[in-house]
Symmetry: C2
Subunit: 452 residues, 2 copies
């Protein structure tokens, strides 16, 4: 049997180059998470469907990947079940699904381990999730999520630390031109009240979430269609067109005593001594997710084609659905695929992110090969990533291997090199070549690695 193999739609292989670049990003993020005291967690790909179902709305439920029960899965069904259709039938032949995000499994973990976890609990989680979405450019059916959450405290230090972490990650990645916008759910709530549409903040959020894309006229049109009165939309209009919003003006608009305003003010007070760079209050930032109840934030890189690359917010009831109510926390995540695209677009990946092997030893006869083998072990003992081409092959073949694998140095030994107990060291980028002693080569390669 021989068939031309293919990948499932919406999934990807990550070959060495993509892996190196993804790891470059993830190592930086992981390093910052750890510096701030976040600890790693991994949960299974498979969850029981009763853990997943009902957590992401009707649309989300439709996008869950379900796993067929093992063995004779039809034995628990009847023809009448079959005739009842796919939805009913699925519930009989499938008990497990692939996780849809990292938040629900985290909530499940917290509840199941509540007695051994010490609060506040800071965890990060970098794992793939699966959604049976229509694949399109930049949207995949299997993709990595990269989350950090603190639960068990409502201290606004957490909000400040999120801002610090984002700035530290972007600084390390070399991304300079970006903005972190902050808002608060209670401010959105107060806006709804102030324009005479109390309790309608979800509809308000959905509409103004599109402001960047469709403009203020269309937002007002949508709100009108959703039953907002002309008076409400006309009171809202000045806000939509005000690009110089600040906390004081907003307080005038919604009235004093709003806890959203005082929360954001406190967060700003906490970070002020480290500078307010990249941080903006945006009373119209909405973010879709309905479980946020406090501060919300979103990060955009300016002047690139990619949208939001990070975001999150505070919630006050992460685990209630699993029987542990009232646990406050804050979570945020980095969009790794999008950050990857931003880094590509801005050419920010360093050359070294794609260097695996520092030196390749090549040999053109058996004698030189044995001589090379001996030095190979010395190089590795010195901690240098090194290879010996495994066969005595033609020069072209061996050099092409170094070239394709992006190996910066090639070592060759002929009669004269062996006589002098050394190798010719060829710099593959400059083309320069020099006969050096073994110890000089080791020194050179170590300092190259240090300089990367």
């Amino acid at each position: 049997m021989s068939s031309k193999p293919s990948l499932p739609k919406g999934t990807r292989d990550f070959g060495p180059e993509e892996m190196a670049r993804r790891n470059y990003i993830l190592d930086i993020i992981r390093g910052v998470f750890r510096k701030f005291g976040f600890m790693p967690l991994e949960t299974p790909a498979m969850e029981n469907l009763d853990v997943l179902t009902g957590k992401y709305g009707d649309e989300g439920d439709q996008l869950l990947y379900k796993i067929l029960n093992s063995g004779d899965f039809l034995s628990r069904t009847t023809e009448s079940d079959y005739r009842d259709g796919s939805r009913h039938f699925a519930s009989l032949i499938s008990e497990k699904g692939l996780k849809y995000d990292l938040t629900v499994p985290f909530a499940r973990y917290v509840v199941m381990n509540q007695h051994k976890i010490s609060m506040p609990f800071k965890r990060y989680q970098i794992q793939p999730v699966w959604r049976a979405d229509r694949p399109q450019r930049g949207r995949y059916r299997e993709f990595q999520q990269c989350d950090a959450d603190v639960v068990g405290t409502d201290s606004l230090l957490c909000e400040a630390e999120v801002i610090w972490m984002i700035r530290e990650v972007f600084n390390a990645l070399g991304i300079i031109d970006y903005s972190i916008r902050i808002n608060h759910r209670k401010i959105l709530q107060a806006i709804a009240e102030a324009i005479g549409a109390p309790g309608k903040e979800s509809e308000l959020c959905v509409a103004i979430d599109k402001l960047d894309k469709i403009g203020s006229e269309k937002v007002i049109q949508e709100l009108t269609e959703r039953g907002f009165t002309a008076e409400s939309t006309s009171r809202l209009k000045p806000l939509l067109n005000d690009s110089s919003a600040n906390l004081d003006k907003m307080e005038q608009f919604i009235g004093s005593g709003n806890s959203g305003i005082s929360d954001v003010r406190e967060v700003f007070d906490l970070i002020r001594s480290s500078g307010m760079d990249h941080v903006d209050f945006d009373p119209l930032l909405a973010r879709g997710l309905s479980y946020y109840t406090g501060c919300i934030f979103e990060v955009k890189v300016n002047n690139v084609s990619v949208g939001s690359v990070s975001g999150g917010g505070r919630y006050d009831d992460l685990t209630g659905v699993f029987g542990l109510p009232g646990l406050s926390g804050i979570g945020f995540s980095f969009g790794v695929d999008r950050l990857y695209d931003v880094m590509e677009e801005l050419s920010l990946f360093p050359e070294s992110a794609n260097t695996f092997t520092t030196a390749l030893i090549v040999a053109f006869d058996q004698n030189a090969w044995s001589y090379g083998l001996e030095f190979l072990r010395e190089l590795r003992t010195a901690g240098i990533h090194a290879e010996l081409y495994p066969e005595v092959a033609k020069a072209k073949k061996q050099f092409s291997y170094a070239d394709k694998k992006n190996i910066p140095f090639v070592l060759v030994a002929g009669e004269s090199e062996m006589e002098k107990d050394g190798f010719s060291l060829k710099n593959m980028k400059s083309g320069e070549q020099e006969l050096l002693s073994k110890s000089a080569i080791i020194e050179h390669l170590i300092s190259f690695n240090g300089a990367q």
Copy 2:
């Protein structure tokens, strides 16, 4: 809705402590793979079922996790399909499955990317796989595999490098008492011929694979049941009871000119200058997997309750099933779960593997908290993993947080500390406490991290 959540049978969460210990092992393995020129690859969790099916034997096919097609999956079925039973029906409602190992997806990747890969291609892959096996102690339905393969060369340097890599990994892990046993499929073939049972090496392998567990008498009994003649088993018997096997004796037994013997000799010649420690020729090592055609090897840690922790071998046709025949290669893998258990049993995990945060700042009033917040940023700027307890809470609560999170140092500031622009540094292990200046604390914590 509130329900008590649970995990699917045979799956596990990895909390911070397990993650830290697993990462300790994986970082060492990854570091050695990279030093030897192996490059990372990741493939999707989901594969098309036609890629997976038929690659692992009938039993393996039964253990594949199948994913239910999305949407109205029954629309492509009829009642007659339903009556045909689970096996037929599954093929109509499921097109994708979860990967069962890393070898088949690797073969698929090589075939799909054959024109951009430069041979020899060295890749490592550390990812979970899924098997609908009966869960039992040490056997999971979702578990990590950790593979390294070289394809595109039949150089025996690869075999030598596998031995070096294993020794380097075990050395770094601190495992001292272990043995790497080596054999060759052509030697097993020749044994079958020498005892008058040519072509029956698979049955022979299956039986002698159990030698360690059931003893030589039972192996012979099993072979007899499988149709081996009394003459064959009596010729085999001395081999089964010979614990001092070596290449020369084996050559006498099967006759000269066997390429298995010469391959193993060459591998030994390649590694001899680095010492023969931990390496043994074992003519009865069989290993189950049928696609091996050359050298095979297996690693056991001595005097622990865990079995084989690593193994692999050479194959000469990895990708033929996907239409690219004749590609020789060698692969091996580490059993991460088992290595974890060995490390636990031998108490080899260093204390530092479970340290996330080096210092926690605690504060008992708002003034001290603000003072601590300022220093927190200085600590992090110096690269120190540090936290400030997010609230002004009781001493007991804050110290217990440090304790449970295994944080080695706690910083406290009262009136006198703040006057001297310092903190009291408490060593949580020794209980010692000392008032130090901020710069002395930074120096102390950096040197502690370096010493870990």
